[in-house]
Symmetry: D2
């Protein structure tokens, strides 16, 4: 399959020991790193997944794009959390997903990649600065043309009955009543917040609204190991905290 070989302007993932770089194959340019230089024009026509001197050259995955490609002006959601959120929200090929708070668009890209051509992602962002940045990210990196971006206050969005909703804003508890309007009964709702105080506020709001059941709160810790067979051990340091994940389902009384 000829399209699998590297073409000019393709994105490539360049790995050197513990370092990774996401770069565009600019045939008039070179990459200069600790493993020496890469003359990009020499990559053209070669397959992805090949050594180039000390470097490994791969076709970027969605993870590479989210972690290295998108421009961020908000806190990132880490893959360990992002993947679990998709699962808990029951997002599959063909899903319609509502995202409240686009942020930098990283979750949007993941929702879009799973939902596919038969699915749809509607994402709402109030802040024009975030909206514009996310728009660039999504236009640049989305695989499927299934994302609809809306630049308005969450309360002003009046969409149809969603089954999967993810909300990533500072005070998600204010929006529970509105989320009830936007979802079908039985819908799956997900949130992420960094502090225990916020979790307490959300739980209070659930107790007030009585329209959400099956509430789950968790945190996910990812511990990486060094890869030397004779000295297997975790890395010395790790990310200790990203956020508390909160899941619930819409219930009618």
């Amino acid at each position: 399959m000829i399209e699998e070989n590297i073409k000019p302007d393709d994105l490539v993932l360049i790995c050197h020991r513990d370092r990774k770089y996401l770069k565009k194959v600019d045939i008039s340019s070179t990459f200069n790193g600790k493993g020496g230089n890469i003359i990009f024009s020499e990559l053209v026509g070669k397959p992805f997944g090949k050594l180039y001197g000390e470097y490994e050259i791969y076709k970027p995955t969605l993870e590479d794009i989210i972690m290295l490609g998108i421009k961020r002006d908000t806190q990132i959601i880490y893959p360990k959390d992002a993947a679990y959120i998709c699962f808990k929200l029951n997002i599959t090929s063909g899903s319609n997903v509502l995202e409240l708070g686009t942020g930098s668009g990283a979750m949007t890209l993941l929702f879009s990649a799973i939902a596919g051509v038969d699915g749809k992602v509607i994402t709402v962002e109030k802040e024009e600065r975030h909206f514009k940045n996310a728009k660039r990210n999504i236009e640049k990196f989305s695989i499927f043309p299934n994302v609809e971006m809306i630049n308005c206050d969450i309360f002003d969005y009046k969409g149809p009955g969603f089954k999967s909703v993810f909300i990533d804003v500072r005070e998600p508890w204010h929006y529970l009543g509105h989320i009830i309007e936007l979802t079908k009964p039985s819908a799956s709702l997900g949130m992420i917040v960094p502090t225990t105080n916020q979790v307490t506020e959300i739980l209070k709001a659930f107790e007030t609204h009585k329209s959400f059941g099956n509430i789950e709160i968790c945190e996910i810790m990812l511990r990486k190991y060094k890869t030397i067979s004779e000295r297997l051990r975790p890395f010395d340091r790790m990310v200790a905290h990203t956020g508390y994940l909160i899941f619930a389902r819409r219930i009618e009384t």
Copy 2:
């Protein structure tokens, strides 16, 4: 949308406090639990996402089906690991996925749900007992007709060049050479093993084969919290270990 209401023989998720049940709506029968009885015929025509006495009745998600629906005759892969594996293997709508070791078919169902109508999952299982059990699970629960099940020794499967491979067998290191045959350069490979001794063996095999780069080893810990707003705290006990996840990418020298 009338199809959203509960019909006879639909699966329903029944929640009562911390307990969950996945049941078929058998209109000639009842469910008897700690929250009283459910007369299934009374559910028909009602929407999903509704209270029934002390019970919450939801439309099952893929998580509910994997955790409660499928019949297991092998060790389960937990959602925290399963979701991350999909992400690391770059599985999106439209993906072609190879699974070596079908087990009970839980991962197969997840791969299938994400790959969708335009994707494909080929899964190979040697043990006839596991194969038959997984076949029943997949026939019963898969959303998309995109799964091809093969009952043969992994070494006898000679498929085309995959980009995403998951292998879940006791001694995955024996199959690295064969996996090289089954994949394109740049392909993503994932594994899960329960012991550090196995991780060491896999790392040794990677060191020997020199055809895999970007090796990552990790473990994921999920900690759940109690959901009372005034007494926020983790549950007393948690799952401490499921397995070590190993990821790598195919590289040609």
Copy 3:
């Protein structure tokens, strides 16, 4: 050293696979467990640290006494937390320690064992039921006669200037002002509480009182591994949460 051999009425730790028992050598009796019977009179005169059939017989450590010996009518503080608390409170041989909330006396025994003959532990408990139970535990198990037990409201205790204070009550924030009276500047203060809401209350009280500095909050997770050399892996389940530890030091403005 003849005193090292087992005498009638000595305590012994009996281990059988994953199970442990703390028993008194009652020479007119036997122990009946899954590894068969132990005729206690046969242990007399034998050294500690010896096999008896399938059982291992050891001299109990302080851990064995705290985990198996003391009678509890309150939540236990786990060794992982208890040991760290002693360290953070700078308790060494010769220390004078103040404990507010005796509970079952487990921490008291540990403070006492470290403080030794030249040190002192003063422990205050309001509830008569807890006080009496702790008194029995301490009379039975303490190594050194350095514990003074006081049965009164914490506010009624007016002791001298302590350098190490541990408080284990439900609402420790109420006592900060009183603790200032009981301690010298530079004293180390420790607490343990189960919920994040309590931690928040304590932090608010610190912010109000302005008499404590160097505040630290942490939690300690202990993960145990199975001990088979060829299948090294963590146990499937673990204790996920005991409490949040809070440490601070008295500071004068």
Copy 4:
């Protein structure tokens, strides 16, 4: 008590936000940090536990000395591990402790502080460089004159029957036979190693020697929280791994 006030040449702990410094009160000198200058002569006669401008000045605890005071030429054992080791080895006031592998002397200082005037710590170090460094640390910081330092190969040390032994060397499994000679039955043995491969080797040695029972392997994770009441959350990053702790007890067949 006049001795509690700061004297010339005393050690003081200086805290400024998240930073800590252990300094000697050199009355001819000043400390210059991000919170401004401290003129040491101005501290003399003041009590410990006092604000000085933006700084908090405390009397150093053993933790401060171990973490900030001792000069290290080996890997440190973290407090979370050190405190638990003392507990598991049943070290109390009056204990006799054998340490094989002095390293920098941090554990030695902790053993010494708990054992007190009636106890004793014998510590053996082969490497002259480590021995000399540890000697300086112990002479400078030990509270009790109960440490005997020996500069010889572990195999050449022939001590009496210890009840508490800690060994911190790269290949502790080589010394199990020798440890049997140095200990009484029922003695508690502790080790720390960084890799799973080492744990496997130790378990194999235990399986061979059959002179150790009640084997326990664990790891301790300490997660710190930020101390702002309205935004309670763990720090972003943490120490993910220090070592695997291994404990066992001597048993005679």
